[in-house]
């Protein structure tokens, strides 16, 4: 370790524990000195500090040593007393306040902990701590239990101007005026005196003074008298370059010229005087005193005998004197003398001697229970140990002992504790035991909050400087210190400490502490009236989600109060309240793509693009167009998004309130820049920057006229999130840039949020290319263009399946130029398709009815159109300027569910803009279609008459309240003839289906192609038979025409949507079932009945096998069984109704079990034919059974009725034959019957296999090219014919 004397503590000790010289002077002396702006002591002080006095000193030992550093402390006699406690406190407070003011102004906070540590130590540690500590120690000077503040000598100064100077000297040392310390016996009043005559050269010649000196020498002795002449300079304008007085006169004004009358000779004279006083008088005097005292102490206390005596004597004394402050010691008591000896030795640097004496006295004091003195001695021992640099442990032990002893004294020793602690802490700091030092500082804290605050701050710096730094504790102690400062109204200090603590907590998640710090800084700044800074700190705590509701309210309220006090509206970048979800940012702009509604804008771009694929000009054409344009426009703008002047850009932003308390947000609007002159802007980027800076001013000024910004107000409940749509409408051409959003919180603070600062993760719709992020929010505003607005009138939001109605599409053109070449594409033609213009005013539903003379024109054209979902408006159709166009649409709710409808309308403008030639209008609707009627059909063949079919229709009303009136059932196409089996009145007398009701009807269906041999002989009247009226029979109302638009078109759509070819194939029938809802209470149109059509496609016989057969033979046979077994001949007629060659294989069985097995296999291998609504249909082979109850009788059941077969198939058990397409063959069969009875001849199966003649023709049958059929029951009664014989 370095020399202890050169450490901060050592320096401090060498400065503070030095001999004191009491100065007594006359008023004239002071007067002369004040000419220089200095008091006598101030004048002399700079020359009392000797860094290299180099005086040989011999104390107790015989060996002399040289003293290097020496200092005298000068005090007026009036100052030699214990300082007034209150005054001292006030003084310290002033010191702190002063420092607070000074540091507050120049404080610059490091923002990072790393910066905090990277600074040099000296910079980190505020210098005023040293100063404060010194002042604090000084408040304890001239205490009666310590001797180092006792004056060693007395300097009497008289001016030559005084009358009778010699008498004045005597008067000065009048005991009445002397400090109480000398009078009350605490110290020896007989001290060394030195007499000085001060001569002011301005007052007169030197001669008089020399005469006076001679008189003095006669009176007081040759050596003790001296003279100083000063103020030699007459004009008082001498300027001292390196002013020696500056440190001693702290309150001097900079303009004051200190020592202006003192020339160099004067200074030298003073310097020499002080040197002489020290080396020739004071030091020798002290040496002598030490020697004398040492002898005395040796005589009375040293040696074994003396020790025993002392011990015994003390023991005896213990019983007698026991005052609370311990015994009183006068200056001539041996204890006081030992202490003086120790202190003198300490001051002269003989630490060994000092230590031995301190040790000696400390035991005495301890025995006497003079605790304060004991502690004082322990303290000195500690310091002596430190300066000797011998035993660290001892030094620390002594200091701790002293500290604790002082502490035990309570309030009396409080300030001594502080001093002791300061020295102790300094000692520890010197030895790099910073943590321990901090603990000591912490322990110093006592009742005096202000001092505690300073101590805590010092402790915090100890933690900061310790290796490794203990930042957590640093922060904590700073905060504690700040609290203490605040308690003493040292707000500036409090702010300073809190601000220093910010870096510790910055970036951590200790939000409770962070909020506390920021909130209090904000509050305190507000107290000081510095609202601007206050607001910045309050902003930090605004969005504190983790705090309780009351705290959040408090934060917000205080924040708003502070803002109000500032008297202006603040603009805050990145205001935390409310939170903006940048990733939710969505910009909706319309270039050539326009949206009819907000819902349309929300649909995915890819969906629209696929829809528009074939109506907008192809991409190759577009690139050509771009190339064409590239000469006119810079590439930059080609890449940027395009929007049209006068059309609003919409921006969706999500705001979230993170707090639990409601907040109100008002005047939410976008911040935009509109550069009217794109070329200029491109050339000079400066222009843009400038724009950025005075954005707020310009937006209110001329920009305002070319931009229309929407403003939104809303309030958010705690934790609420809301999406706000903001719009900006450019009025002129140019470059529009969306910079950010601004809002007003509680109509006090304006929050700004720049979009550009944030990482780009946003969805910008309609981006064609990958742009740089900044250009995403940059738009090229082009000249105003026509923009169609579209709307579909009376499109229901909610309807029942099957609903069929006309709608009107209205397209309006608000601009000054016409648009033409309209095209429309509908995503879902099953639901919606465009009609003819002449249908616009047609009477519904009458227009759907059959008219005899109607021309079936345009039907086929319609088919083509609807297949492509694309509708070309007639070429002569255009929407003129400021007019609107209405166009009929047909709507059919095909299937239940939530159905999105996308409609896009393409149109072209003429000669308006070179950049944009066409635009599209996108419309989006969502339909909710409820299930209404469940219609299912089942078709069965009659093998005997293969052209005839039996149709069963089941209808269930699935609605909860509606009542449908059945109207008609029509088959599509002309080859079918349909007729009711029973009159409808018997099935459904009311002709209406109530909610939940079901209905089954049976119809006969006839294939007209079969029945009539020639195709062309279809009479025109016969096609009426393809419709069956289910409603009132006597009604003359016409049928709905299913073969004309729109029913036919919708039917085609149905077919195509179900993946069926529009070509009707054989044995497949399509049906349209039409009902009406008379009192439509779900819709507004209550007068006109609603028409519902339900379409069923490709109904075919459920077990539509191409092979049908009929077993023919006798039903009843009489046979005499006494004769050989009865043989029965049967004939099987097999018909191949397909277009392929069929090979048929007939197997007969005698055992029913194996038969049963096979039928099961057949069932699994051949799933039932698809038919809507009928899932569980077993294979029905019994063509004989046509009634409902017969249908329930299934083949397996009939098998189970049989017992053991009592017949066998005779002949081959397997027959194979090949059938040509559409041909019939007969094969004979024979059985042998052994006993009479009733036999079921169903135990055979038919395997058939189709070999298609022509591949791909009949796709529907291709997958059914083979099958197994179970034989159907054929009952044969065999009777015994014995009776007849």
């Amino acid at each position: 370790m370095a020399d202890p004397a050169s450490t901060p503590l050592g320096k401090m000790l060498l400065e503070e524990i030095t001999p004191v010289v009491m100065v007594l002077c006359t008023p004239y002396v002071e007067e002369s000195c004040l000419k220089n702006g200095l008091s006598l002591i101030q004048l002399l002080s700079p020359f009392c500090d000797f860094t290299n006095i180099d005086v040989p000193v011999r104390t107790a030992s015989d060996q002399p040593y040289r003293l290097r550093k020496f200092k005298l402390r000068l005090f007026y006699s009036s100052d030699i007393r214990q300082p007034n406690l209150e005054v001292a406190k006030e003084r310290l407070k002033k010191v702190i306040t002063h420092v607070g003011e000074k540091n507050f102004l120049e404080s610059s906070d490091p923002s990072q902990v790393n910066n905090l540590l990277s600074r040099p130590e000296s910079e980190m540690l505020p210098s005023w701590f040293q100063f404060f500590n010194k002042e604090l120690v000084r408040t304890l000077s001239f205490s009666d239990h310590e001797a180092f503040d006792h004056p060693v000598a007395c300097l009497l100064v008289v001016s030559s101007k005084d009358d009778e100077p010699v008498n004045r000297f005597v008067d000065l040392f009048n005991t009445n005026k002397l400090p109480s310390l000398l009078n009350d016996g605490a110290m020896d009043p007989k001290i060394m005196k030195h007499y000085l005559l001060l001569h002011d050269n301005q007052d007169g010649p030197f001669n008089k003074a020399t005469k006076l000196l001679a008189d003095m020498r006669n009176a007081f002795g040759q050596n003790d008298c001296q003279i100083i002449c000063f103020n030699s300079s007459q004009d008082g304008k001498i300027h001292h370059q390196d002013n020696p007085w500056a440190p001693f006169k702290s309150d001097a004004l900079p303009t004051e010229n200190l020592g202006g009358f003192l020339n160099l000779d004067d200074l030298n004279e003073i310097k020499d005087f002080m040197q002489e006083l020290s080396s020739k008088h004071i030091i020798p005097y002290m040496e002598q005193k030490i020697r004398v005292l040492n002898q005395q102490v040796s005589a009375t206390r040293k040696g074994f005998r003396n020790q025993i005596k002392n011990l015994w004597w003390r023991k005896g004394k213990e019983d007698t004197i026991d005052t609370p402050n311990g015994p009183v010691y006068t200056f001539n008591s041996i204890e006081s003398q030992i202490r003086i000896l120790g202190d003198y030795a300490f001051m002269l640097g003989d630490y060994e001697l000092a230590l031995s004496n301190y040790r000696l006295i400390s035991t005495d004091y301890k025995l006497d229970k003079a605790w304060k003195r004991y502690a004082g001695v322990q303290e000195m021992m500690g310091l002596t140990y430190f300066l000797l640099d011998q035993s660290r442990k001892d030094a620390e032990y002594c200091m701790e002992n002293a500290f604790n002893t002082y502490l035990k004294l309570g309030s009396a020793g409080r300030r001594n504790t502080t001093r002791c602690g300061l020295w102790w802490a300094e000692m520890l700091k010197t030895r790099d035991q910073l943590k321990e030092a901090a603990t000591v500082y912490f322990r110093i804290c006592g009742e005096d909050t202000l001092h505690s605050a300073v101590m805590l701050e010092q402790a915090s710096f100890c933690y900061l400087l310790s290796k490794p730094p203990m930042l957590h504790k640093y922060g904590f102690h700073l905060v504690l210190s700040g609290d203490h400062y605040k308690k003493c109204d040292q707000i500036k200090h409090a702010i300073r400490t809190y601000r220093s603590a910010i870096p510790v907590y910055k970036g951590t998640t200790w939000s409770l502490i962070k909020d506390h710090v920021h909130f209090h800084i904000g509050q305190w700044y507000a107290l000081l009236g510095m609202y601007d800074v206050a607001v910045t700190h309050m902003l930090e705590v605004l969005a504190s989600t983790h705090q309780s509701k009351t705290t959040q309210e408090l934060f917000l309220r205080d924040f708003l109060q502070i803002v109000q006090k500032t008297g202006k509206t603040f603009e805050v970048l990145k205001l935390q309240l409310p939170v903006i979800n940048i990733s939710s940012l969505k910009v909706i702009f319309e270039d050539q793509r326009t949206n009819a509604s907000a819902a349309a804008a929300r649909v995915k771009e890819s969906l629209w693009r696929s829809l528009e694929e074939d109506i907008i000009p192809s991409s190759t054409a577009r690139s050509n167009w771009l190339e064409l344009q590239s000469k006119i426009m810079p590439r930059k703008y080609k890449e940027s998004n395009i929007c049209v002047a006068g059309e609003a850009l919409k921006v969706d932003i999500e705001f979230k309130n993170p707090l639990q308390i409601p907040i109100s947000v008002s005047s939410v609007s976008l911040m935009c820049e509109l550069c009217a002159n794109p070329e200029e802007d491109a050339n000079s980027s400066n222009n843009e920057v400038q724009n950025n800076e005075d954005r707020t001013s310009t937006s209110s000024g001329d920009i305002n006229s070319c931009l229309i910004l929407s403003e939104v107000d809303f309030s958010l409940e705690g934790g609420e999130t809301t999406v706000v749509q903001l719009t900006v409408t450019p009025r002129i051409e140019g470059i529009l840039k969306i910079v950010g959003v601004k809002w007003k919180l509680s109509s006090a603070v304006v929050g700004l949020c720049n979009f550009e600062f944030n990482p780009v993760n946003r969805v910008v719709r309609g981006r064609r290319k990958q742009h740089s992020p900044s250009s995403d929010l940059k738009f090229l505003v082009i000249k105003s263009l026509p923009r169609l607005q579209g709307f579909i009138h009376s499109l229901p939001e909610k309807t029942y399946a099957g609903d069929l109605r006309p709608l009107v599409l209205e397209l309006s053109n608000q601009s000054k130029s016409p648009v033409k070449n309209l095209k429309m594409k509908i995503s879902n033609p099953r639901f919606l398709y465009a009609g003819n213009q002449k249908e616009l005013n047609a009477d519904f539903p009458a227009c759907l009815k059959k008219k005899m003379n109607v021309e079936k024109s345009g039907r086929h054209a319609n088919v083509n159109k609807t297949l492509q979902n694309l509708y070309h408006f007639p070429e002569d159709i255009s929407v003129q300027e400021e007019t609107s166009l209405s166009w009929p649409l047909w709507f059919h709710a095909a299937v239940p569910g939530n159905i999105p409808l996308y409609i896009t309308i393409y149109y072209e403008m003429e000669g308006v803009s070179s950049i944009m030639k066409y635009r599209t209008l996108r419309m989006h609707y969502n339909l909710q279609v409820l299930p209404s009627l469940d219609v299912s059909f089942q078709l069965s063949t009659r093998p005997s008459r293969s052209q005839e079919f039996l149709l069963r229709m089941d209808v269930v009303n699935k609605t909860s309240s509606e009542c449908f009136q059945v109207h008609q059932l029509s088959s599509v196409g002309q080859q079918w003839e349909i007729s009711l089996l029973q009159p409808v009145d018997s099935i459904l007398p009311s002709q209406s289906l109530f909610a939940g009701q079901s209905l089954s009807c049976f119809f006969m269906l006839k294939d007209r192609r079969r029945s009539s041999t020639s195709e062309d002989s279809i009479p025109s009247l016969s096609h009426i038979q393809s419709d069956v009226r289910l409603g009132p029979q006597d009604n003359s109302e016409a049928f709905f025409d299913v073969s004309s638009s729109p029913l036919a078109d919708f039917h085609d759509c149905e077919r195509s949507s179900r993946g069926m070819s529009s070509q009707g194939c054989e044995y497949k029938v399509d049906f349209v079932f039409i009902t009406q809802l008379l009192k439509g209470n779900s819709d507004s149109s209550s007068n006109t009945p609603l028409v519902f059509s339900h379409h069923a496609c490709d109904c075919s016989p459920s077990s539509m096998s191409p092979i049908s057969w009929l077993v023919d033979g006798p039903r009843t046979i009489q046979h005499n069984f006494s004769a050989p077994p009865c043989e029965v001949n049967l004939k099987m007629t097999i018909t191949n109704s397909s277009d392929a060659i069929a090979s048929v294989h007939i197997n007969t069985f005698d055992s029913p079990s194996s038969n049963n097995q096979l039928i099961n296999d057949a069932t699994t291998s051949q799933p039932p034919e698809h038919q809507s609504g009928w899932s569980e249909i077993p294979i029905v082979n019994d063509t004989k059974i046509i009634t409902t109850e017969a249908l329930t009788t299934r083949v397996p059941k009939s098998l189970s009725l049989e017992s053991v077969p009592q017949f066998i198939w005779s002949g081959t058990s397997s027959t194979k034959l090949v059938l040509q397409p559409r041909s019939t063959a007969e094969i004979p069969l024979q059985i042998c019957v052994f006993t009479p009875g009733i036999y079921d001849l169903s135990n055979y199966i038919l395997n058939w296999n189709l070999t298609p003649v022509n591949d791909g023709e009949n796709q529907g049958e291709a997958n059914k090219s083979s099958g197994v059929c179970q034989g159907y029951p054929y009952y044969l009664s065999v009777l015994e014919s014995n009776f007849k014989d």
Partner: protein, 143 residues
């Protein structure tokens, strides 16, 4: 009585702090816990003090203040558990036992697949379990 328990992540970020006092002294306890992290760091970085017990997780008394005693515990993942108690004579064994149970509760809480490592522990089950452990603190020794 235990006044506060805390879980502090390896970057000295608070993961869970729960005080068990009625008074509104959350801030004070936060400060105390925050402060004691210095001592934890010190203990961890100067292993010579805890030399013989290399894998010792229990850090012992960290920070005796006037009214509180602060105990620490360090898991293998450098997550710190801090216990602040007003009992001035606490047996080490009790504290060790407490931390062992607390550790188990913590492990269960972070094993939740929905827990994001490094984020605050919001599990109510964990909170309930911790308060049970806190309530039973010191009881076992009495019996």
């Amino acid at each position: 009585m235990i006044v506060c328990v805390a879980v502090v992540g390896h970057q000295n970020n608070p993961l869970y702090i729960q005080s068990f006092t009625d008074a509104d002294d959350a801030l004070k306890l936060h400060h105390i816990v925050h402060c004691s992290l210095d001592v934890v760091d010190e203990r961890v970085n100067n292993p010579k003090k805890s030399g013989p017990t290399l894998n010792e997780t229990f850090l012992g008394l960290l920070y005796p203040t006037e009214n509180y005693k602060v105990y620490g515990y360090l898991t293998n993942t450098k997550v710190k558990f801090i216990l602040v108690t007003t009992d001035l004579d606490v047996r080490d064994a009790d504290v060790r036992n407490f931390f062992r149970r607390f550790h188990a509760a913590y492990v269960d809480a972070v094993s939740n697949p929905f827990h994001v490592p490094g984020k605050k522990i919001t599990s109510r089950t964990f909170a309930d379990r911790v308060s049970t452990i806190v309530q039973s603190f010191g009881l076992s020794s009495a019996v």
